[in-house]
């Protein structure tokens, strides 16, 4: 029985609680992605994903080409790292990452030719096992920011059937526009990625979810989805953190992901839109994840733009490519303003999961003086997980692990809505992290 529908456009099934409405600052939205030429050096840390680090498979002096594996691991939760430029391995050394940790890295001096590795060919993918293998080999991690190895998400277990793929194009973080550009510039890639995943994983339906402050993206995607009965576009209310995985599953399907569980436990796979588009390109060409788009923005950047950059390029090279600073920024952020990391120096490499580099002046950097908590409850009202951050802070300072666990501390995803809303300027996310570490410590005992 053929079913017909009037429109591919869906409305959110359920509305999440809380969240905030921060200024969008999406100043780079209408700027087409610019490809950055190969930098002189790239630094490829062996840990660019959540999971086990890779071991370098090349040594100093080796010649490598674009797409060649330079690091891999035999651990399950890991993906290989590929050379992002062609050239000679300058060194294998420990480097500091944006989050402050140290990791071994392969440094490549580019020969400027961007020569593609000869062994690259499209993967042969006939079933879901092949797909999982291919996606692991591609080095793909969630491009939305979390950096979780994508092949793990696509590993569908028989006892946990999946019926829905949600393609996350919410992009609810202020400033960042790379996913929006992906929708506008590569909509057909997104669609073919969707179809490939749908076919291989036998998914009933696919929902591409976009926040409704991006009508252009919705229009483009809808015009494609209109021709397909099982692909839908969903306009979601623009409200941070709409793009958070659990919020996304709730809005798109009405299902609640229980604490400590994954979307797969409720029959859903959530994938970032750029990851889906990459999947399509990889299945067609076989070129692994060696570059990504990144939004360079903020009021201290001379020419804010969306740039396609080889992985491992130093943030300094990227900012210089965008004209450098107009004034000395107060804060440098790797990632978005809500969940990104403040960094001390631009001399860190761009990782697979980094979607933005921001340089903000003092007035835009969220530097609020901390005052006493007045118990106004705005942190609780803003919390999408319905936690009471100010009370969690209190119990964290007491070190009361049992009460903290009962209060649901561990479901906090550190979205920052509480701290954003706090009139007293309290660093609530920091307290939430402290609380989580207390609960984790206690669980170990």
């Amino acid at each position: 029985m053929a079913h017909t529908r009037t429109s591919a456009l869906l409305k959110a099934v359920k509305k999440g609680k809380g969240g905030i409405h921060a200024p969008y600052h999406k100043i780079t939205a209408e700027l087409e992605t610019v490809r950055m030429p190969a930098p002189e050096f790239v630094t490829l840390p062996m840990l660019q994903h959540i999971g086990a680090p890779c071991t370098p498979t090349v040594k100093k002096g080796d010649y490598v080409a674009v797409g060649q594996v330079v690091g891999d691991s035999d651990k399950f939760l890991s993906v290989p790292i590929h050379a992002s430029v062609s050239g000679v391995v300058e060194s294998v050394q420990d480097v500091k990452l944006a989050n402050g940790t140290m990791a071994p890295a392969v440094v490549i001096r580019s020969d400027g030719e961007m020569k593609l590795f000869e062994g690259i060919e499209p993967p042969v993918v006939n079933n879901k096992e092949d797909l999982v293998k291919a996606i692991r080999a591609s080095g793909l991690v969630g491009l939305g920011g979390a950096g979780f190895p994508s092949f793990v998400k696509l590993t569908v277990k028989d006892d946990k059937p999946i019926d829905t793929l949600v393609v996350n194009a919410a992009e609810c973080e202020p400033y960042i526009t790379v996913d929006y550009r992906e929708c506008i510039e590569n909509s057909w890639n997104i669609y073919s990625g969707v179809k490939a995943l749908q076919e291989l994983l036998q998914l009933q339906r696919v929902i591409i979810a976009v926040e409704d402050n991006k009508p252009e993206a919705i229009k483009v995607l809808k015009s494609i989805a209109d021709k397909d009965d099982s692909v839908f576009v969903m306009g979601l209310k623009s409200r941070y953190p709409q793009g958070a995985e659990k919020m996304m599953v709730l809005s798109a399907t009405g299902r609640v992901v229980p604490e400590g569980k994954l979307p797969a436990d409720v029959g859903v796979i959530v994938m970032n839109v750029a990851s889906v588009a990459f999947t399509a390109r990889y299945l067609k060409l076989g070129k692994p994840l060696v570059s990504r788009s990144v939004t360079v923005s903020g009021d201290c950047i001379k020419n804010p733009m969306n740039v396609r950059v080889p992985i491992g390029t130093s943030l300094r090279d990227i900012v210089e490519f965008c004209g450098g600073f107009t004034e000395e920024p107060a804060k440098l952020i790797c990632g978005g303003p809500m969940m990104g990391t403040a960094i001390t120096s631009l001399d860190v490499p761009l990782l697979k999961s980094n979607n933005a580099v921001l340089a903000l002046s003092a007035k835009n950097a969220g530097l609020k003086k901390e005052t006493a908590c007045i118990r106004c409850g705005r942190c609780h009202a803003a919390c999408p997980m319905n936690l009471v951050p100010t009370n969690i802070e209190k119990y964290a300072l007491k070190g009361d692990a049992e009460t903290l666990a009962a209060m649901g501390t561990m479901v906090c995803m550190e979205c920052g809505s509480c701290a954003y809303s706090c009139p007293a300027g309290k660093p609530l996310v920091q307290y939430m992290r402290l609380a989580k570490s207390i609960v984790k410590e206690a669980a170990k005992k």
Binding site: E259, V319, M338, T344, L358, R375, P384, M385, V411, S421
Partner: protein, 324 residues
């Protein structure tokens, strides 16, 4: 772009904050309290303004002196002392000797607020506690209510006293609403208080839960008590400090529950206790006592009504197994 060893600010995310501040919240409360003060001054004359002035100035002065003396950072800029001073004045009769106002401010700011750790740490509402201290210390001055200085005003006993059985004449309901009646400075005009509360609701400074639960439960209680007499119920709601208490005192952040269910429980507790004291107690008014009592219960209410967080699993039966 030369690296001049610039030091960038590093802090935990988020790197964006909305422009709200504690002082901004307090300013909203002050704005919302203005209409009631203006009405109080119109009804009772300039003497009301003097009481308000003394209460506010002394509250701020005590806060300043205490923080200075204790070598803590001076926090009068957060305007919370102004709010406390205003609320205290609104809870006093206009003819109160001004030196009693000073005692009230001292109790509110130094004893109730600062001794317990300052802003956000006190377990009881400073203005209410100060009012109660004054009430038990100077019962005479605290219950001698001046007559409204307006033409056509009903003079003599306050409406609440009349409702309680005292000799006297009741004003009309309209007079009750607009403040042509005896009572404390800030509580005379229900209309002015409601106007202020609407402002706070619109600015999202307070939620509807505590006021609605407070007033609603009191209304239901009174309706049942009077066997469905709406006029009597309306008088009860507009008399005394019920509206001032429900809209501005019970909604105090520090001394009321944060979560939604807790707010409802708190409001219902206030409403029921107020009625019980008014109808069955020896006191004519019960708003202050009921709020104070519920203040003390706030931590327990919060514990009992902990909100269900997203994706919370149903309790497993492992606990029973352990106990066995």
């Amino acid at each position: 772009m030369e690296d001049k060893k610039t030091l960038y600010t590093v802090s935990a995310s988020p790197h964006a904050k909305n422009p709200s501040s504690a002082a901004g919240v307090m300013l909203d409360v002050i704005i919302a309290l203005l209409p009631a003060g203006v009405m109080g001054t119109i009804v009772f004359g300039l003497k009301a303004l003097a009481v308000i002035g003394v209460c506010v100035a002394s509250a701020v002065a005590f806060e300043f002196l205490y923080t200075k003396l204790m070598k803590k950072s001076v926090t009068v800029g957060d305007l919370s002392a102004v709010v406390t001073g205003l609320l205290l004045a609104y809870n006093l009769p206009v003819d109160i000797p001004l030196w009693m106002c000073l005692i009230g401010s001292f109790v509110a700011i130094v004893v109730v607020k600062q001794f317990f750790g300052g802003l956000g740490q006190n377990f009881a509402n400073p203005a209410i506690t100060a009012r109660i201290v004054l009430l038990v210390s100077f019962a005479g001055s605290m219950t001698k209510f001046a007559d409204p200085k307006l033409p056509d005003a009903v003079t003599g006993a306050t409406p609440l006293a009349v409702l309680g059985g005292a000799e006297g004449e009741l004003p009309t309901l309209l007079q009750m609403l607009f403040g042509v009646k005896g009572g404390c400075i800030g509580e005379v005009s229900g209309a002015a208080l409601l106007l202020g509360a609407l402002y706070l609701l619109a600015r999202r400074v307070i939620s509807w839960r505590i006021p609605v639960a407070f007033i609603g439960s009191a209304a239901i209680f009174m309706l049942i008590y009077s066997k469905g007499d709406f006029e009597y119920t309306a008088y009860e709601l507009l008399a005394g400090g019920l509206l001032l208490g429900a809209l501005f005192m019970a909604t105090d952040y520090t001394t009321s529950p944060i979560n939604k269910t807790g707010k409802l429980v708190f409001g219902i507790g206030c409403g029921v206790l107020t009625c019980v004291i008014r109808l069955y107690g020896s006191l004519p008014e019960g708003v202050s006592y009921s709020i104070l009592l519920m203040n003390i219960l706030t931590p327990l209410i919060e514990k009992a009504t902990m909100p269900k967080y997203f994706g919370k699993l149903k309790k497993k039966k492992t606990k029973e197994g352990k106990a066995a």
